[in-house]
């Protein structure tokens, strides 16, 4: 699909398929069009292109199914709970009147809010509000649940817990879900599949593990975690760097991207770098070293031994990705 | 914030500029007569005498009540009212008027005890729509003809109407007056707050007639309207064509007795009397002033002989009867 606001292209040849029952995450920096994509799926925005939900075309040339007929559940960033209704009435809003009255209780149980149905949303904590929003979205058994930055309003401790619970709840209900976030860790930890978006395009679409270990380009590598780049030249199947020799089919100028956890340091033997800066985290440390020529590379290693600035060390990378240098 | 302070200063400045009061205090007139009618005259007085004047405009009865409430502390120097009843009800607060002034006016227009002097004459009339086919009244009792049900306009709280009711009490006694008022009420008259709207409504044909003072129609004509209505001076010579003066009195203990007397004198000058006759269409109270357009000679109108000074004594009763009859 395509979508533009005036001259600004919000979505550009955006194209994705989601498997039923899985959790897909749209990940990207703010303004990359991920929320727009979600709103197009929900029907709150119009766009060119087509959207099919469970084989039913809801958007296409001459087709526009209004949001109330799409069978899509949405969890909003601020939850958008109806402040004037009780929790139970919030959850029951999307249910037909003659539906099983126990359904609301089931959902309360599902999201772990048993007995809180008579509270007003304002009387709940942020995490509880979030779960009400989820229960409300799932109440009419939608074909897909859309979650717009669902964890951004929770503090860090709560976030991990709620994220785990959300995954369990969705799995239990076998609901297909699309989640939007700008938080890489969140995306990697909670999703079956992640689509990394940049400027309205999907740059890479893969499982979390693949994304991390095989980023499609240096930008994705840097966006998903910490990475350092070295310049090198591809020659006869290899690229040679200060950190070692890496296989590549590319020829000419290349960029070699290494992650800190793949960089090892050792003292004594043939030093090729000087420690510039260290940060100690307890369970590990992050050591920044300067290579001859000034390029800096980070290394995440165990807490021992401790390095001090000025130490001469040997740095070596066990693993790296090689990309063509940008012209 | 600076803007706010500037505005505050501006507001105070404007107020200061508008506050015309000097130290001696201007001559304060409580006027029960409308500003529209009286102000031009007062402007002229200020110009000619050099005396500064402040006027408080309100209803005549309202001002009479205010004067009674204020008592001796009042700042008023002159009470200029549109009906003898209001003047009479504050007679105890008024100083006697100079005989020299009183003598210039026909005695029937002034207070017997000389506490106030009539300044212009007005006559109660029956105003009617020229297109009406209802029977025009020949006596005040004909007004209650059932044919007029729902077609008659009255202003039961207006001073002139109350003065008219007071006159009826003096002429017929309380009982008969109440009976007349009840008959009037039974005929479901349309009630107004003042005389002008009655004349407007009659002119427009919304009602067929009403009990008002004679000059409202003449003034409406001067404004460019009034072509659909006519005044009827009820011929029987009963209270229906009562002649009532507007008048003025000087407050006892005023700190400006000379200026106050000068003002009353001014109201009786030829110039003022001419103004009443031609601009407000009232009858002059001194001899030899020409009448305004469309005004009949006062001597042609048959009117009852009522002791104006006694009107005030029954004003309270009139008010009570009007409300007892269910008109307010």
């Amino acid at each position: 699909m395509n979508k533009s606001y005036g001259d600004v292209l919000a979505l550009n040849d955006f194209n994705l398929d989601v498997w039923e029952g899985s959790l897909l995450t749209l990940l990207g920096p703010s303004g990359c069009g991920k929320t727009t994509a979600l709103r197009v799926i929900a029907g709150f925005e119009q766009a060119e292109g087509s959207v099919e939900i469970r084989g039913r075309k809801v958007l296409g040339p001459g087709v526009f199914v209004p949001p109330e007929k799409r069978r899509v559940g949405m969890v909003f960033q601020d939850y958008a709970l109806f402040p004037h209704m009780t929790v139970a009435r919030n959850i029951g809003y999307g249910l037909d009147r003659d539906r099983d009255p126990k359904r609301v209780d089931e959902l309360l149980d599902l999201v772990g809010l048993t007995g809180l149905g008579d509270r007003m949303p304002g009387e709940l904590s942020g995490g509880q509000q979030q779960r009400v929003a989820l229960a409300r979205a799932m109440a009419p058994s939608p074909d897909v649940v859309l979650l717009d930055e669902p964890f951004s309003n929770l503090d860090a401790n709560l976030r991990d817990r709620v994220r785990r619970e959300l995954k369990l709840i969705l799995a239990e209900a076998r609901t297909t879900a699309v989640l939007v976030t700008h938080d890489q860790e969140e995306a990697l930890a909670s999703s079956d599949l992640v689509a990394v978006m940049y400027q309205g395009r999907v740059v890479q679409f893969d499982t979390p593990a693949e994304l991390y270990t095989r980023p499609a380009d240096p930008w994705v590598a840097a966006f998903l975690g910490v990475a350092d780049a070295l310049n090198a030249t591809g020659h006869r199947g290899y690229a040679d760097t200060m950190l070692g020799r890496f296989k590549t089919d590319l020829r000419g100028p290349v960029v070699v991207v290494v992650r800190p956890e793949d960089v090892q340091l050792s003292m004594g033997e043939a030093p090729n770098a000087v420690v510039a800066h260290t940060e100690f985290f307890g369970h590990d440390q992050l050591v920044t070293v300067a290579l001859p020529g000034g390029t800096r590379v980070r290394s995440r290693i165990g807490p021992r031994p401790r390095y001090e600035p000025g130490d001469h060390v040997r740095a070596r990378a066990s693993h790296a990705r090689v990309f063509p240098a940008r012209s | 914030m600076k803007k706010l302070y500037v505005l505050l200063a501006l507001g105070a400045l404007i107020l200061a500029a508008c506050d015309s009061g000097g130290d001696d205090g201007p001559l304060v007139i409580y006027s029960g007569r409308a500003e529209e009618l009286v102000q031009p005259l007062i402007d002229r007085f200020e110009q000619e005498s050099g005396i500064e004047v402040d006027v408080r405009y309100a209803g005549s009865t309202d001002l009479a009540a205010t004067l009674l409430q204020e008592g001796e502390a009042t700042e008023a120097d002159v009470f200029y009212a549109q009906d003898p009843a209001s003047l009479g009800s504050v007679a105890s607060l008024l100083a006697p008027i100079d005989d020299e002034i009183l003598d210039r006016v026909e005695p029937r227009f002034s207070d017997k005890d000389g506490r106030w002097v009539g300044t212009s004459g007005r006559v109660r009339v029956f105003v009617y729509n020229t297109g009406t086919d209802l029977p025009l009244p020949e006596t005040i009792d004909d007004v209650n003809d059932p044919a007029w049900a729902g077609q008659l306009g009255i202003a039961p709280t207006n001073g002139s109407f109350l003065a008219f009711v007071s006159a009826m009490i003096l002429e017929r006694g309380e009982e008969e007056t109440l009976a007349w008022l009840e008959e009037l009420a039974a005929n479901q008259p349309v009630t107004f707050d003042g005389n002008a709207p009655i004349v407007d409504a009659t002119d427009a044909g919304e009602i067929q007639g009403g009990l008002v003072n004679h000059y409202y129609l003449l003034r409406l004509r001067a404004e460019g309207g009034g072509t659909g209505a006519e005044n009827l001076f009820i011929p029987a010579g009963d209270v229906g064509s009562l002649v009532m003066p507007a008048g003025a009195g000087i407050i006892e203990g005023t700190d400006q007795p000379d200026a106050a007397a000068q003002f009353v004198d001014f109201l009786l000058s030829e110039e003022s009397q001419e103004y009443f006759a031609t601009e407000t269409f009232e009858f002059p109270v001194i001899e030899g002033v020409e009448l305004g357009q469309g005004m009949p000679d006062l001597s042609e109108i048959v009117s009852p002989d009522i002791d104006l000074s006694a009107l005030a004594d029954v004003l309270e009763d009139a008010t009570r009867l009007v409300s007892e009859a269910g008109l307010v």
Binding site: R70 | L8, S20, E35, E70, A196, T319
Partner: protein, 532 residues
């Protein structure tokens, strides 16, 4: 301790803010402002208890007045809310072209006082009215209930519009989308989500409109519909004995307080969630048919509420001048109206500031009482206040009797609530910690007030001042009773000229009043325009 992954339990977030500073200075100032406002109701009560009611008004008459007043209030409130909701919704939530223009035109009639509205109705209808002169067909003038209902509804709708517009802005649009996403159609979303969330705004708009109607004097008098205010004035002006007017004033006061109590009871228990993060607002796309209907509605409303009054006034001026009438200079009246309104507006915001402070940042248990009494005083019908203050001034501080100072004090007291609520609004939007930040940086309390607190609440101060300005310049009954001798304002001029049938001058004064009120009204709408 259980086996398994160890987690540090998150620090319990303290729900309650730190308790506010006591703010004795603010409280002292607020109480000093409030104490004198209790004078009118207490005086009236004392007068009636001590002096009796005079020739009492009959019970039948009382019932008649009560029925008339209540019926008119209910009808006008319902109609004005309906019109105001429609104009506010169309101009804030739809993609109607020219929304900003319509937003202002829908608010403009606020400057038209009720007596001018009545005057318009009288001038437009009836034989030889404006409508007949244009169309050749006369619509009979709707005197009585119908006329009062029409005039008040049309000209009070802007009040509802102005209160409902920010109310609509405060609703998180995502809640409406959530409703749509859950399968609710447009109408169900409006009925079950938008409207209930708008309820607090609707209730306060209803309170404003209702109180105005109960205490309206100009429209009911000119259109001859019997309500308490009209009866009080005729008793006051038409009788030497003033006790019956005072007695009726007490009844009217109680009626107004009843409305206030109903409003307090109607407040919903729904707590409000934290305000939504600012994000682009989605506008309701109107179809072509709806768009035409919306234009018709807004255009028709502007025609009746703005064009018609100005046309009638112009028509009268042209007709009157043609017949040789003088308009006369109105500069003195303009100056007095402007001066008294500006001064009252600024005094009111100064007086309201401590009141707003003790009901927001310096909130204590007593704050509820303060709020209720400010609104209680606001709800007092002006004519009753006028009657009471005259009694008070004649008995007590004679020095104040018939002075400008007393009139200004009465204005400030009567409209304190308007200024206070605007300032409250601004204070609630700002963070009280800013004060601490300033004090922490070495500023004294007064410096903090002047350089931090007042500047951040300037929008509220300006809006409050504008609101009071418009109210004062339009005010009639209290001005009529309390003005110093010779202090004729535009409102008084319009009233007295109309009563004596001098429509030319009344029209000229009306146009002058409108012209002077436009600027503060634009101040009021600027806020809404900014958030569009």
């Amino acid at each position: 301790m259980t086996a398994g992954p160890l987690t540090a339990s998150p620090q319990a977030k303290s729900a309650a803010r730190r308790s506010p500073r006591p703010g004795w200075g603010w409280w002292l100032a607020a109480l000093a402002v409030l104490a004198p406002t209790m004078v009118p109701p207490l005086t009236l009560l004392a007068q009636v208890i001590g002096g009796g009611v005079g020739s009492a008004v009959s019970l039948g008459r009382l019932a008649e007045l009560l029925a008339g007043t209540v019926a008119l209030t209910v009808a006008v409130t319902a109609t004005a809310l309906a019109i105001g909701t429609a104009t506010a919704w169309l101009t804030t939530r739809t993609d109607l072209p020219g929304r900003r223009f319509w937003m202002v035109t829908a608010a403009l009639p606020l400057v038209i006082p009720s007596y001018m509205a009545a005057l318009t109705l009288i001038g437009a209808t009836g034989p030889r009215g404006l409508i007949e002169s244009w169309l050749g067909v006369a619509i009979p003038t709707p005197y009585g209930f119908l006329g009062a209902w029409l005039a008040l509804s049309v000209f009070l709708a802007p009040m509802a519009h102005l209160i409902l517009t920010p109310g609509l802005h405060a609703i998180d649009p995502a809640t409406e989308e959530a409703g749509t996403g859950l399968g609710a159609g447009r109408w169900r979303v409006f009925r079950t989500i938008t409207l209930p969330q708008l309820r607090p705004a609707l209730v306060s708009a209803g309170l404003m409109v209702g109180l105005y109607t109960v205490s309206d004097f100009g429209a009911v008098s000119l259109l001859r519909f019997d309500t308490f205010t009209r009866a009080i004035y005729t008793l006051y002006a038409g009788q030497i004995d003033r006790r019956p007017a005072a007695a009726l004033s007490v009844v009217l006061m109680l009626l107004a307080l009843c409305i206030l109590v109903v409003e307090r009871r109607t407040r919903s228990r729904a707590g409000y969630l934290s305000p939504p993060t600012r994000r682009a607002r989605r506008l309701e796309a109107l179809g072509r048919g709806h768009r035409v209907a919306a234009f018709g509605f807004l255009g028709g409303y502007a025609l009746i509420s703005l064009f018609l009054p100005i046309a009638v006034l112009g028509y009268w001026i042209v007709r009157g001048v043609g017949a040789g009438n003088e308009i006369g200079p109105l500069w003195d009246e303009v100056g007095r109206s402007l001066g008294v309104s500006l001064t009252a507006a600024l005094l009111a915001v100064v007086a309201a500031y401590p009141v707003a402070m003790v009901t927001t940042w310096r909130r204590r248990r007593l704050s509820g009482v303060v709020e209720t009494s400010v609104w209680g005083v606001y709800s007092l019908p002006h004519i009753a206040v006028g009657v009471a203050v005259i009694v008070f001034a004649l008995r007590g501080p004679r020095l104040l009797y018939q002075t400008l100072a007393l009139l200004l004090a009465v204005y400030v007291g009567m409209f304190l609530a308007q200024a206070a609520s605007s300032i409250q609004d601004s204070l609630l939007r700002a963070d009280p910690d800013l004060e601490d930040a300033s004090r922490g940086l070495g500023r004294t309390a007064l410096q903090t007030l002047a350089r931090v607190t007042i500047p951040i609440t300037t929008p509220g101060i300006l809006a409050g001042a504008a609101l009071v300005f418009i109210s004062v310049i339009k005010e009639l009954p209290a001005t009529l009773l309390l003005r110093p001798t010779g202090f004729e304002t535009l409102a008084i001029r319009i009233w007295s000229s109309t009563g004596e049938g001098f429509y030319t001058r009344a029209s000229a004064a009306s146009l002058a009043l409108l012209a002077v009120s436009i600027v503060p009204l634009l101040v009021l709408t600027r806020r809404d325009l900014a958030s569009t």
